[in-house]
Homo-oligomer: 350 residues x 2
DNA sequence: GTGAAAGCGCTAACAA
DNA sequence: TTGTTAGCGCTTTCAC
């Protein structure tokens, strides 16, 4: 007997015909069965599933997508997967998507219109059924591509007047008010804000909400105490340095995100300042890390899970129930203060 | 004139026929053109591309995949996307993949065989052409699914005797030796090791390499000074507490990864111990954060970019050039020490 | 060098 | 309830 060089028997992967033959039904019945059509009798359903299991059959997604016109893929565009906020967001989104039978295509825009254009192209090329744009950037023009092709979208903090586009509004205001209130209660009145890059919607909204909150509490905001940083650790270090260079310094710093705040913690330490004794620091996001900084970071929590849920739900509705007149086109995600160790009463005499 | 409710004209998305018609060629020529077949004359090539651009045509990937049998998707399974090491790895892998026209499917195993099984299923269902298993886990049995279906794979730190499976070996030894040497040079002799969970290959290899390095340097390893943690911040805190509970304590701690080390930094601070004056700490990975801890973390760098490159290359070879007799089936990624601020000479008298 | 036509594996319309 | 069949949009022989 002649043995071939390979020890794996060459068996063609089973297709719908193989299953049909084994179950002694037509391929239509197999198709109906795997799509849970109620029109198949119990007897045949059982026989088909048995054949499917016996053969370890998996339907070919490309054939399915080709004929159904549905890819069951959602795209998610984040700003930067390297910022811990986003992996946590992606994970939540993915879990929900997979539970609903969708796969996801992840892409980082890096807040760069050119890169975003590439992301959008990838999404288009792979025929995603919807895109969650959670990059918080102000690069809407690039998204026209998606609008033109009638791809459902959900945007964070930006409205687009198109029936296929939903919006998630983030209520930073509540959390920021709580933060200011908290600082006020501790005795602070000199509060600075390290903002995010103005090219981000989120950064601008947060900054505005800070100003409003300060005003509401009757506190003056000093121009020099609102500094544009870039939402990175380095940016926080730099922002803190700018504040330190001032003759009149704040006793507390609210940061536009946790990364900035962690940068501040670091810079303060290097300067020999103790947090919270010498200066109080508040972040925003409440990334997993926030609990483990030195000291643990007081921060405004923005639930990634809520955000992911809203984003997925927005897309799901658009795709699965587009005609529903009472479809939600606007979602709201709230924030709230989490008090940890980076805030305390200002040192006496300040 | 009657106006319809929608203002968007209903134009069917262009397909290969539309392009062919506009360019006045057959669909075969269009197909050849978009696949860069050299058999098309310059004249027609130009005409076809012009039509493609004019129509903003994108080939349907499902049709392509269906007929070609190739999905141009690679899967990547990581341990936990929430550990900063992995997003950095994913990003590198994605960049390379996209540059080569591949899309990627990301999945986290959470070091749980059940979850891994789900990941593998998703990969199979979506017909990925290869899978990079960079979860460092010891759940190989689950991977049989992939092996049986002849899906090319690349594994980190594990060999599987199958022609379709490549391996990436990580040379921790070099970096760990450098670390021990560095500590020795500073005057340390009492060195502890906070290991990773033994269910991870990486953790076991790292621990063994630590033991070997200590032995090579003629240093004794104490059983109580090698503690199994879990590669998380919390785990580092707990591990440090165990060390502190001992009557004989180490003057330096080497950690199996940076997260553990950062946890130690945190715990030491809470205990009132100063790093590096009272105790030296070394991490492993060199995640972006490491530069921004307090103090900046001395750590053993493991290049995510190198790892990603090797993983992609392994898969690419298997898929695009499987018959090549001199295909590399084994890759090596090296490590090296990065000295920052968390190591110093031990306090006098210890 | 170019085109006609078969068919990839599936869904859905229509028949029975 | 079940089966037959016509494509979905593309690649790839095979002729010319």
């Amino acid at each position: 007997m002649v043995r071939k060089g390979t020890h794996k028997p060459v068996v063609k992967t089973p297709d719908i015909r193989t299953v049909a033959a084994l179950a002694k039904v037509s391929i239509a019945t197999v198709s109906r069965t795997i799509n849970n059509s109620p029109a198949v009798s119990e007897r045949l359903t059982k026989r088909v599933w048995q054949a499917i299991e016996q053969l370890d059959y998996l339907p070919n997604p490309h054939a399915r997508s080709l004929v159904s016109g549905r890819s069951r893929i959602f795209g998610i565009i984040v700003e930067n997967i390297t910022n811990p906020f986003f992996p946590e967001l992606i994970q939540s989104f993915e879990e929900i998507a997979v539970a609903h039978g969708y796969e996801i295509l992840v892409s980082s825009s890096n807040s760069d219109p050119t890169v975003l254009a590439t992301c959008v192209r990838r999404m288009l090329e792979r025929k995603v059924e919807g895109v969650a744009v959670l990059s918080f950037g102000a690069e809407e023009p690039v998204l026209d591509q998606l609008v033109h092709r009638d791809i459902p979208m959900v945007l964070a903090e930006f409205r687009l007047d198109d029936p296929k586009v939903s919006t998630i509004l983030l209520d930073y205001s509540t959390g920021i008010h709580e933060a200011i209130h908290h600082l006020l209660g501790l005795g602070h009145r000199r509060i600075a804000f390290l903002a995010g890059p103005h090219k981000l919607h989120s950064a601008i909204t947060r900054e505005n909400d800070f100003r409003t909150a300060m005003q509401d509490e009757g506190l003056p905001t000093q121009k020099k105490w609102i500094i544009e940083c870039d939402h990175t650790l380095k940016g926080g270090v730099a922002g803190f340095a700018q504040l330190q260079a001032l003759s009149a310094r704040p006793s507390a710093i609210v940061c536009s995100n946790d990364m900035t705040a962690i940068g501040v913690l670091r810079a303060a330490y290097m300067e020999g300042l103790r947090v919270p004794d010498d200066i109080s620091v508040i972040g925003l996001d409440d990334i997993d890390f926030a609990e483990f900084t030195l000291p643990p970071l007081t921060t405004i929590r923005l639930s990634r899970a809520d955000l992911a849920r809203s984003a997925f739900e927005a897309l799901r509705q658009q795709v699965e129930d587009p005609a529903n007149p009472k479809m939600l086109r606007e979602f709201l995600v709230s924030t709230s203060l989490v008090v940890r160790g980076s805030t305390a009463a200002p040192a006496a005499g300040i």
